[in-house]
């Protein structure tokens, strides 16, 4: 090997390292932004609780010497923090799931929505509510459980259908779209035949929201979501290779079919976990992967964590706006995610001239 050759390698290595550093900084930046926004959100709300008092209430739990009022403690620890954490967890899960699904199916239109998972969950919840189970009390867990089961069921149905014809990507997506229509129709029937108050509960659930966030839910979801996210990230290399085509991936030793099933199942679990509790929150799973791909490129090692953080950030900002804009009245969060996310997304779409998909 000549000296010139070695030098060239070092030069490209340098570029690679520099780019990697940039990406790591971007992810760190997102993380810092998320922490800052979380803390800011803790000081905002309908109760007239100043920023100082709110922060005092947080710190008082850690430093027992500090004085705080019972009222501030309840507002911050029982009402604001669980909700903020729930927004972060939900946004993160939807962002990660969306990225993984888009990566594995090599299709920019894929999201928990298009694969029918959201419609499945909604249908499950709708059936539970129509059966006369209340959103309150013990019934709540029945609705959550039903939503969870139905969205996983959807995933397996989509798989089973595509299996029959070989796992062609189009089949998967078409099966997902077809099933969502079926579920939407079922929800429509339930809405049509339900009496007024039941109808309200179904619509309420369909709108999605984070105001029912509780510590129990956060504590239950935190380890589950962390584990699934880490597991998903372990498939980053496989996803990277698969993005250059399935034949290429197969020739490089990636077991394409197996990776696809595992990653999609992980994504389905992730989605099902959160939407079962929050109701349908759309758009995050689509917008955060695209946003991050526009900035970072298609390396899933960076894309997955960045997209998770971006999802968390968008949802947290949206939900905080929902809580505070016309307080004390709450705006449904789906409205806000679209109002905040869409202009941002369109801006990126127009500004970036590069074709960032393939």
């Amino acid at each position: 090997m000549s000296i010139a050759n070695i030098k060239e390698t070092t030069a490209s290595e340098e570029i690679y390292t520099r780019l990697t550093k940039k990406k790591v900084f971007f992810i760190l930046g997102l993380f810092v932004a998320l922490v800052v926004v979380s803390i800011t959100a803790t000081t905002m709300g309908a109760a007239s609780l100043g920023g100082r008092e709110s922060l005092q209430a947080i710190v008082a739990k850690i430093l027992p010497g500090l004085q705080t009022t019972n009222f501030a403690d309840t507002i911050v620890w029982q009402l604001r923090l669980p909700r903020i954490l729930m927004a972060v967890l939900t946004g993160l899960s939807l962002g990660v799931a969306g990225t993984a699904m888009q990566g594995v199916l090599r299709n920019p239109l894929v999201s928990p929505y298009t694969l029918g998972l959201s419609a499945g969950a909604a249908c499950g919840a709708g059936i539970a509510i129509a059966l006369g189970i209340s959103v309150l009390g013990a019934g709540r867990y029945f609705i959550v459980g039903n939503a969870f089961i139905f969205s996983l069921l959807t995933m397996f149905l989509v798989f089973a259908i595509s299996r029959i014809r070989g796992t062609a990507i189009e089949t998967l997506i078409l099966a997902g779209v077809a099933l969502s229509y079926l579920f939407s129709a079922t929800i429509s029937i339930l809405k049509y035949v339900s009496d007024a108050e039941v109808l309200r509960e179904i619509v309420f659930w369909l709108m999605g929201g984070l105001y029912t966030a509780r510590w129990e839910t956060v504590i239950l979801l935190l380890p589950v979501i962390t584990i699934i996210t880490v597991l998903t990230m372990r498939y980053s290399w496989d996803l990277n290779v698969m993005s250059s085509g399935e034949e290429v991936a197969a020739s490089l030793g990636v077991r394409v079919g197996r990776v696809r099933i595992i990653v999609l199942t992980l994504s389905a679990l992730l989605t099902a976990c959160v939407i079962a509790f929050t109701g349908i929150i759309g758009f995050i799973g689509l917008v955060s992967p695209h946003t991050c791909r526009a900035i970072l490129g298609n390396d899933h090692r960076f894309l997955i964590p960045a997209s998770g953080l971006m999802g968390a950030l968008i949802l947290l900002i949206s939900d905080t706006a929902c809580r505070t804009l016309i307080q004390p009245t709450e705006i449904p969060v789906g409205i806000m995610t679209s109002f905040i996310g869409v202009p941002f997304f369109l801006y990126l779409l127009i500004r970036k001239r590069r074709r960032w998909w393939q």
Binding site: S48, T74, V135, L136, D195, A196, E197, R200, E330
Partner: protein, 296 residues
């Protein structure tokens, strides 16, 4: 207009109920699905899911003399019914006192049952006036702050809703009266800060009101993290009520319960449950069945 009508289709639950207590249940030949009280109306044919979703062929097939509809019934539907030569009578909601009385009077005149109608109106007015007279003199500081929650979590009612009207009539102050949305979802911390003296909860829907269900709804409020520290929960002034006590003549029973919860001293002599029994016995020829409020 053919009066009295021999064959009536009623697309409004409140009107169906009133026709029955006027003693004209036999005239009903079709109903909306939510017309389910008193029990005798449940035997009638369902020709509409709601006042908006009407099965026109089924409706016309019953050859009604008259169709009772609401302002929510689409104009196209009304036109079609009238094109078939059937007059459409639009009635108001029976969730508030004044429209209720008007509707009772209208239906009474229509069915030649003016005397019966005036009797019911007398009963309703008697108790409404009783509540009014006693709460009118209250000073603002004597009126409890009330948070009313519908079946959804933190879903409440602002001014110009029947819930607000009932709260005001019963001598309370609705904490959400000034909200811009009619049925808003409000933030938990705001409710906590307003610190209501009384919390009312509408019983969960889709369930037969058993003591267990109402108790579960109350326990949920009593232990909910945002409400646990409110004055209402600490004083145990959390009440669950069934939706039926806010519709038709039974709304006076709901009103009496609320007034008594807000001002126990002022309404010491009133027994809402006995008034309920009297109303059902005399006008509906029914015995109260099940449970309507919790705790009783």
């Amino acid at each position: 207009m053919p009066c009295p009508a021999e064959r009536i289709v009623s697309l409004q639950a409140g009107a169906s109920e009133l026709i029955c207590i006027l003693g004209e249940a036999d005239r009903i030949v079709g109903r909306s699905k939510d017309s389910n009280f008193p029990p005798c109306v449940e035997e009638k044919l369902v020709v509409a899911q709601t006042t908006k979703n009407i099965n026109m062929e089924l409706l016309l097939e019953q050859k009604p003399d008259i169709v009772i509809a609401t302002s929510y019934t689409p104009a196209e539907m009304q036109d079609k019914i009238e094109a078939a030569g059937i007059p459409v009578v639009i009635v108001a909601s029976t969730l508030e006192v004044d429209p209720l009385i008007n509707t009772i009077r209208l239906l009474g005149q229509m069915q030649d049952k003016g005397e019966e109608a005036e009797e019911i109106i007398g009963f309703v007015e008697h108790y409404v006036n009783l509540v009014k007279e006693r709460t009118e003199k209250l000073k603002p500081e004597e009126k409890p702050l009330v948070y009313h929650e519908r079946t959804g979590v933190y879903k409440t009612s602002a001014a110009e809703t029947y819930v607000d009207t009932d709260i005001v009539l019963a001598g309370g102050v609705n904490i959400a009266a000034n909200e811009p949305v009619k049925y808003p979802v409000v933030s938990a911390e705001w409710v906590l800060e307003r610190n209501p003296d009384v919390i009312l909860k509408m019983a969960p829907a889709g369930e037969i009101a058993t003591e267990e269900v109402l108790k579960e709804a109350r326990d949920e409020i009593m232990t909910r993290s945002g409400l646990r520290d409110t004055k209402a929960v600490i004083d145990g002034k959390v009440y669950v009520h069934a939706y039926v006590l806010q519709r038709g003549p039974q709304l006076v029973v709901g009103l009496l319960y609320w007034a008594k919860w807000f001002h126990p001293e002022l309404f010491k002599d009133i027994n809402p449950s006995a008034v309920h029994k009297e109303l059902l016995n005399n006008f509906y020829k029914l015995e109260p069945e099940g449970i309507f409020v919790y705790p009783q």
